[in-house]
């Protein structure tokens, strides 16, 4: 151990210009991918549970395909394919948002599928007995309960998603890690920058997982 660490270059301006700029993209990406992923994921889960092969099969291929490819490769694929499909180049940030929504939908769909399957059949029958359509039954009876059952798992997946946003490094999008890295390079202090990045990620993720644990205990007590 013969290293002089010097964190004095972290000024308010630096944090605003580099770290917070990156963090705001990381958070935006996490939130958009969670909301979009849960929406598309629920749709995929309903397709897989529909009992109709022409709906089930494409959803199963999509979900299992996404889940067997590394996220970095998916990020690279979308960065290559999306501009080719829409015919004009798009920025790394927009490409990252599209990728994460599409990728996380596969993982959220498995969570939602388990959540929907955890609802007793009697609930569905009760809805049907009340004359509800399939849509009403899902929206008013099944999905609210499934979402509630799965809330801790969904939030844990969101924490993993937040960690995974650092992988947009592969296409050079400006997330929090990139912010720390650029700041470290500009001030010639890369080691302190990586250490600070690790500490910030740790504090954020640890606090979030602690909160999820508390929420889990609360929900468990009510039931």
């Amino acid at each position: 151990m013969n290293l002089q660490l010097d964190f004095s270059f972290y000024s308010g301006d630096l944090i605003r210009n580099f770290v917070l700029k990156g963090l705001s993209f990381s958070l935006m990406l996490t939130i958009v991918a969670t909301i979009g992923g849960v929406l598309f994921g629920t749709l995929l889960a309903l397709m897989r549970l529909s009992g109709r092969k022409w709906l089930d099969l494409p959803a199963a291929i999509y979900v299992n395909g996404m889940r067997s490819i590394p996220l970095v490769m998916v990020i690279l694929w979308f960065f290559l394919l999306v501009p080719a499909v829409i015919g004009r180049p798009i920025g790394a940030e927009l490409s990252a948002v599209i990728t994460f929504v599409a990728f996380e939908a596969a993982y959220f769909s498995e969570i939602m599928r388990a959540g929907i399957q955890s609802i007793p059949r009697g609930q569905v029958f009760a809805g049907q007995a009340l004359g509800m359509t399939y849509g009403q039954n899902m929206r008013l009876v099944v999905l609210p309960q499934a979402l509630r059952n799965m809330l801790p798992v969904l939030l844990t997946q969101t924490i993993i998603l937040f960690q995974d946003t650092s992988l947009v490094y592969a296409i050079g999008a400006y997330d929090m890690l990139k912010g720390f890295e650029v700041a470290g390079k500009n001030y010639g202090r890369p080691i302190e920058a990586y250490l600070a990045a690790a500490v910030v990620y740790f504090i954020l993720c640890y606090a979030l997982s602690w909160a999820v644990k508390r929420l889990h205990q609360r929900i468990a007590v009510i039931r």
């Binding site: 590394p70 592969a170 640890y206």
Partner: protein
């Protein structure tokens, strides 16, 4: 747009097709490079898996020791530390920060540092599975060991671990598949594995789709092979009548 798989037969230097696709006498085609990249991916993943299994098993077991609150706390801290920092950041820590702190590690190649990073990262997840596997066993198992006059070590060796390790094979299977997928993050410190190959070959040849398809295919083949291997191990080690076999039935 048309396919051009011929690109894999090209020499990486001359960019001219080579007969038979595999380079001879020091020449390297993209196919050679792809295969060697697959080898790097497999090496990183398998070595990291060995490290993660050894560490995860030890730490997961320590976290269940009775009447050792400090060891349990230390084990919990280990898991929280490696679980709450993104893998890419951990790889940067191993690659940039650790050698600066310990100059003796400066000569260590990036490949080894990535194996350490991925192994430690995964060890936390495996430790968590080992802990929950041991705690899933009925308390009577531990008491039975004590009643037979076993020491704590013997209770773990002969009673608890043999059952717990069988219980955790399914989550361990997905963790093993994860380690193959996570090895792709090694691209960030220029280990010549599949994702690194994909990025560089895409840039050099502009045949991104063919290159990515080949790489994606190899990842899927690797994941499928691991899946089958673990299913085989699960079948061979099953204790008849003890653990529910096969996939859980639907509704």
């Amino acid at each position: 747009m048309s396919w051009d798989w011929q690109v894999f037969c090209e020499d990486t230097m001359e960019r001219t097709p080579v007969a038979g696709c595999l380079g001879k006498d020091g020449a390297v085609t993209y196919l050679d490079w792809l295969l060697s990249a697959w080898g790097w991916t497999l090496s990183v993943a398998l070595l990291a898996l060995l490290l993660a299994l050894a560490l995860g098993l030890a730490i997961g077991t320590l976290r269940t020791l009775p009447d050792r609150p400090w060891i349990v706390r230390l084990g919990n801290a280990w898991v929280e530390l490696f679980r709450n920092i993104p893998l890419l950041v951990q790889i940067f820590l191993w690659y940039h920060v650790v050698p600066a702190l310990f100059p003796a590690l400066k000569a260590v190649p990036g490949f080894v540092l990535v194996v350490l990073a991925l192994g430690f990262f995964t060890s936390a997840r495996i430790a968590e599975q080992v802990r929950s596997g041991i705690q899933a066993l009925p308390r009577g198992q531990r008491h039975a060991g004590m009643a037979l006059g076993f020491s704590t070590a013997q209770t773990y060796r002969y009673v608890l671990l043999p059952m717990a390790l069988r219980i955790i094979i399914p989550p361990l299977t997905s963790e093993t598949m994860n380690i193959f997928k996570n090895s792709s993050v090694a691209f960030a410190v220029s280990v010549a594995e599949l994702t690194m190959f994909a990025m560089q070959a895409q840039e050099e040849t502009s045949r991104g789709i063919e290159v990515y398809l080949a790489v994606t295919g190899l990842y899927i083949v690797s994941a499928f092979a691991i899946n089958r291997l673990m299913a085989f191990i699960e079948r061979r080690t099953r204790v008849p009548g003890f653990i529910a076999a096969g996939p859980a039935g639907g509704h």
